[in-house]
């Protein structure tokens, strides 16, 4: 059983839902990423999405784009991100790490080399935003060969026939994008999300995470009632952005604990 599967299995047995915070590697400074990862786990994260900074993050809103820009000031590339995962793994063998990013940094490294290095570093899943399943068959096989999960997005506009194609290639969990827009956009429509998640469940037994519009504890609670996992990205990055060096960890932990409590209250 992979680390991701085992987290979902354990939570299910406890009747709980997963909290998956997102942070961008290297934001606000590369030295703070590994301490932040540990702090998130300590405050209640079940899994972490670690963003690979990219110069042109087309699917992201302004908040996560700014995080990428802050990280890139420090020349934060994919190799360094993998080194951070490795450093995190030195003392944490249980919390899954999912890398989230864009295709070009992976292609620049070469997908075969990336998969080998990701495996060695202890990466559990990879979500490549601009790799729809039709364009990444070889990469997907390489990931499968290394027992790394391929996480795919489903959107409000994804037709059932396409969902069928995607769930065949997806492993670990599915990430349902809760609104039409970029990360951190307007408020999500919980009734619509509920309907769509129920439809997706008829096509797959994979756990379903929901993200892209979870702005506070109240939304997190609503989403937790429907989905298997709640992904919180832009709101988490805002907590990092608004902090200074002294209260960075405390800020992020306060938010994570609030979200944890909300999710567990379902």
């Amino acid at each position: 059983m992979s680390r991701i599967q085992s987290v979902f299995a354990t939570l299910k047995a406890q009747g709980k839902k997963a909290l998956i915070p997102y942070i961008t590697a290297g934001d606000p400074h590369p030295d703070q990423t590994v301490p932040l990862l540990h702090a998130l786990v300590e405050a209640g994260a079940d899994m972490i999405e670690l963003g690979v900074p990219f110069s042109d993050p087309m699917a992201d809103g302004p908040v996560i784009q700014r995080a990428s820009e802050r990280a890139l000031v420090h020349k934060m590339g994919l190799r360094k991100v993998l080194a951070m995962v490795k450093a995190f793994r030195a003392t944490n063998q249980t919390t899954p790490i999912v890398l989230m990013g864009y295709a070009n940094p992976i292609e620049a490294m070469g997908s075969t080399q990336f998969v080998a290095l990701a495996k060695e570093a202890g990466v559990d899943g990879v979500l490549t935003v601009d790799y729809p399943p039709e364009e990444c068959e070889v990469f997907n096989q390489e990931l499968a060969g290394a027992d790394i999960d391929s996480i795919f997005l489903l959107s409000p506009t994804t037709e059932p026939s396409r969902t069928e194609l995607i769930v065949k290639q997806a492993t670990g969990f599915l990430y349902y994008v809760s609104l039409k827009g970029v990360t951190g956009a307007a408020n999500l429509d919980i009734v619509e999300v509920k309907k769509r998640v129920a439809e997706i469940r008829q096509q797959t037994s994979l756990p379903i995470g929901v993200g892209f519009g979870v702005k506070d504890a109240a939304t997190a609670r609503e989403v937790a009632a429907i989905a298997d996992a709640v992904v919180v990205g832009s709101r988490m990055v805002l907590a990092i952005e608004s902090a200074n060096a002294d209260n960075l960890i405390a800020n992020v932990q306060t938010l994570t604990k609030e979200l944890r409590t909300a999710i567990d209250s379902v």
Partner: protein, 400 residues
């Protein structure tokens, strides 16, 4: 003879092209692909497009024999395909009319566009005004400063111009922002991409709408000189004017196709926008796989060109393919060389060319010198230079 038939049904030109977008955009692109397939051979749609090209744009654009320039250069005869004489002053209008007519048929009341030099933004705002569509144009904040007259033109035409402050504040960032708008407003919005880049079907669709340039040129050259030119030269940023004139000539033997990229301060300085000529690595950006200017981590690097319309780190995937199969050649022209060619055309022919097109002119001069007077070089004069007079004046330390 082999018949060129690209791209494949998923938009691949060999290893290039494709649909590299987030899942949130996939259905919108599929809808567009299906609708374009439906209308691209529809006689009624094509007749409406042809009508607008004739009566609204003023097509066919003439071909002009630049005799004094040819004499001054010494060598081959230089002919100009006068896209600068189109309504709005550049080739961009051909494509925006095609896409706007498609938007109308798809029932989308709102169009958005990205723009670099502003020509595509103006062309989009123009057709939006004519068809009564709401229009929002994204433009890098840096380009808004460089191209103030075009910004004002768009506003006069009723468009909203949004300056983009992220990243390098140029064309690529405007494209990112337009994509974000599209993904958020998919149900009522049509994204009019201005070049032969982006995800499928854009590179093919924009090429098809621009192919009128090459189709006309074939007839016109036959009529003027009784044969086809020995070489065709066009500037390449994303590459839409070049694709438009190259495409009908791909299967015509004996015609060299030469794309001219922006060499900026020179390829050795790294400050340019010439991914094909500089042998940049292959990568994925803006929905397609192509040659891309990037650093070792795969982040896109900032480009430089005197011409905002060529200031783009990638290039249309079909150009990448034509380079690989050696059907087209690609070269670079520096800012300085383009400026010299700009002045040459002004003084010898009474035509003020766009700074983009001046890159093609500069290479055509070099090439013509190596050829004999009975040979012919056809240059795609993609736009007029009125929009660039501030840039030219500033470089000469003149305040207008």
């Amino acid at each position: 003879m082999q018949v060129y038939d690209m791209p494949d049904e998923r938009g691949h030109f060999g290893p290039f092209g494709g649909v590299f977008v987030a899942e949130t955009l996939v259905e919108a692109l599929e809808e567009l692909r299906v609708m374009y397939e439906k209308y691209r051979h529809d006689p009624e749609f094509l007749a409406e497009f042809a009508y607008d090209l004739k009566h609204f744009v003023g097509r066919p654009s003439p071909i002009y024999h630049a005799k004094r320039l040819s004499e001054k250069v010494g060598g081959a005869q230089i002919y100009l395909k006068r896209e600068d004489l189109n309504h709005t002053g550049a080739h961009k209008i051909n494509n925006t009319i095609g896409q706007a007519l498609l938007a109308k048929r798809m029932g989308k009341p709102r169009v958005i566009a990205e723009t670099g030099a502003g020509q595509h933004g103006v062309a989009t705002a123009t057709i939006a005004a004519r068809l009564g569509l709401e229009c929002v144009v994204y433009m890098g904040a840096e380009d808004v400063k460089r191209q103030a007259p075009n910004v004002f033109r768009m506003k006069l035409l009723g468009a909203t111009v949004v300056p983009v402050e992220s990243g390098s504040k140029t064309l690529k960032d405007a494209l990112n922002e337009a994509m974000r708008d599209w993904v958020t407003n998919i149900s009522n919005t049509f994204y009019i991409i201005g070049t032969v880049a982006g995800p499928h079907p854009y590179p093919m669709m924009v090429r098809d709408f621009q192919a009128v340039i090459g189709i006309e040129a074939k007839d016109q050259m036959q009529e003027m000189i009784g044969r086809q030119p020995d070489a065709i030269v066009a500037c390449v940023g994303g590459g839409s004017n070049a694709m438009g004139i190259f495409y009908p000539y791909i299967d015509v033997e004996g015609v060299r196709l030469i794309g001219v990229e922006a060499g900026g301060h020179g390829l050795s300085t790294g400050q340019h926008a010439a991914p094909l000529t500089a042998n940049s690595p292959i990568g994925v950006l803006h929905g397609n796989r192509t040659y891309l200017m990037q650093d070792e981590d795969g982040n896109i690097i900032e480009t430089h060109s005197i011409s905002a319309g060529l200031d783009y780190p990638g290039v249309g995937p079909e150009h990448a393919w034509l380079k690989d199969i050696k059907r087209a050649e690609y070269v670079a022209i520096t800012d300085e060389e383009a400026m010299t060619a700009f002045h040459n055309l002004c003084r010898t022919e009474g035509i003020i060319p766009a700074m983009e097109s001046s890159h093609a002119l500069a290479h055509a001069e070099k090439l013509a010198r190596t050829m004999s007077p009975d040979q012919v070089v056809l240059v795609n004069l993609s736009g007029r230079g009125d929009k660039d007079i501030n840039t030219v004046a500033r470089l000469a330390n003149i305040t207008l």
